[in-house]
């Protein structure tokens, strides 16, 4: 197996102002599937249909919108121990802690730490498998291509987050040097090419598993993104969002960076969601694609060739 270490973004925990409208949005409009509730801590756990693991999205009712943390699945308990020790040894992160198994339903112990941009990250190795309702083996052998009874946009998986924070260099160091991510694309200042203002990082064959943009803030959340199989499904997502009168930010359109086809919209607490399709296959030997601040318009929105007012200023 070549894909080792950190396998993928495994979950994102999002704070919402009111649980019921949020749940309606995430299940009926976005079309995730509820898998567990934790009434004591006002949390609901959800997954996208093609994910086998127990959950990939956690909603928690709170007074502030934004992201609590993002979790990364690693290939084994041994890798979890090794990477936790590596994070500690690097001295780049704060608030190191072990979260006991079971704190998330069906999930093993998690190692939590805060990266220099102020975002809490977790590593974990074990999560119960619920399956994708298409069959895998036994009586279910000969799997179906997709299950019945999907609702709303129904993306196949939680794919990545874009986050805003100040110490981009420090956070990049954690992801590249400690966790083994590759840099697929970057945005540099033309007048000062030593200054990176955007980083798109991959732990897999995806064009990005996480992205950061330098902003003078700590721990801010730009969006959580979910994968669709085709451009036509992105258009259909736009239809569904309009039908539900969901607040749409921009799209459907295309990103220059990662080449994804995209639509951005907001959950009922103002947290931005994206559904997207396309992009390219990333390999670790691919040279990073470099954009400069002067071409940030087409880098972000390839058709409009300018960033909309909300791209840089609206986040939670």
């Amino acid at each position: 197996m070549s894909l080792t270490g950190v396998l993928r973004p495994g979950h994102v925990a999002i704070r919402v102002l009111e649980l019921e409208p949020a749940l309606k949005h995430y299940t009926e409009v976005l079309g995730l599937i509820e898998t567990a509730r934790d009434p004591k801590n006002k949390r609901v756990f959800l997954k996208a249909w093609d994910e086998h693991d127990h959950h990939s999205v956690v909603l928690r009712e709170a007074d502030e919108a934004g992201m609590d943390y993002m979790g990364w699945k690693v290939d084994s308990p041994a890798t979890l121990k090794k990477l936790a020790a590596d994070v500690e040894k690097s001295k780049l992160c704060q608030d190191l802690a072990w979260i006991p198994a079971g704190e998330h339903p069906g999930t093993g112990e998690r190692f939590r730490f805060t990266v220099p941009t102020g975002h809490a990250m977790e590593l974990y190795a074990e999560k119960d498998r619920l399956g994708n309702n298409c069959g895998t083996d036994g009586p279910d052998i000969n799997p179906l291509p997709w299950p019945d009874n999907l609702k709303g946009i129904a993306p196949s998986r939680f794919d990545h987050c874009l986050l805003y924070g100040d110490d981009l260099d420090g956070t990049c160091k954690v992801f590249r040097d400690v966790l083994g991510f590759g840099l697929s694309e970057q945005v540099l200042l033309k007048a000062d090419p030593g200054t990176m203002i955007g980083a798109f990082l991959s732990c897999s064959n995806k064009a990005h598993d996480i992205a950061f943009i330098r902003q003078p803030v700590k721990g801010k959340f730009h969006h959580a993104s979910f994968e669709l199989g085709s451009w036509e499904k992105v258009l259909r997502a736009g239809d569904i969002l309009s039908r539900h009168q969901t607040s749409i930010d921009i799209g459907p359109t295309r990103h220059g960076i990662t080449r994804g086809e995209t639509i951005y919209f907001f959950d009922p607490s103002g947290n931005r969601n994206e559904v997207f399709s396309g992009g390219y296959i990333y390999y670790p030997d691919k040279p990073p694609l470099t954009w400069y601040d002067e071409s940030l318009g087409p880098a972000i929105f390839y058709h409009d060739r300018k960033i909309n007012e909300s791209f840089l200023s609206v986040f939670t």
């Binding site: 102002l17 003078p216 930010d249 007012e309 200023s313």
Partner: protein, 121 residues
């Protein structure tokens, strides 16, 4: 009953009907005096100070509207529902400054508070 909303910074006036929020009514009237962000109480782009009038509010993120803000009439237009004619002043969200500000955004677009600063400039 329709209520008249006046944005003091821009001088724009529009009607809010059927329990529409200040921001929704502004967008429907094709006015632009208050920056539009998430429209859902989370991002703070549409923060206003209510100068005059009665209103009720929906839930707003404490990250952008503190208890003191709310007591001082500083609220989010997207979650503010007029109960009489209303005068408001657009504030926008003031970005926190950090040590790396100088190295961050030579290309940054104006923040939502710009309508006010442009007027004062």
């Amino acid at each position: 009953m329709p209520h008249l909303v006046v944005i003091e910074n821009s001088g724009e006036r529009f009607q809010s009907v059927d329990g529409m929020s200040v921001l929704a009514a502004m967008e429907q009237a094709r006015c632009r005096g208050i920056p539009v962000g998430c429209r859902n109480g989370g991002c703070g782009a549409c923060k206003v100070r209510v100068i005059s009038g009665r209103y009720r509010t929906g839930k707003m993120s404490r990250a952008v509207v503190s208890v003191a803000d709310e007591a001082a009439g500083c609220v989010l237009a997207c979650k503010t529902y007029p109960e009489s004619d209303l005068g408001v002043e657009a504030l926008g969200r003031v970005l926190q400054t950090g040590p790396s500000r100088a190295a961050s955004f030579s290309f940054a677009i104006p923040r939502p508070e710009s309508p006010r600063s442009e007027r004062e400039a």
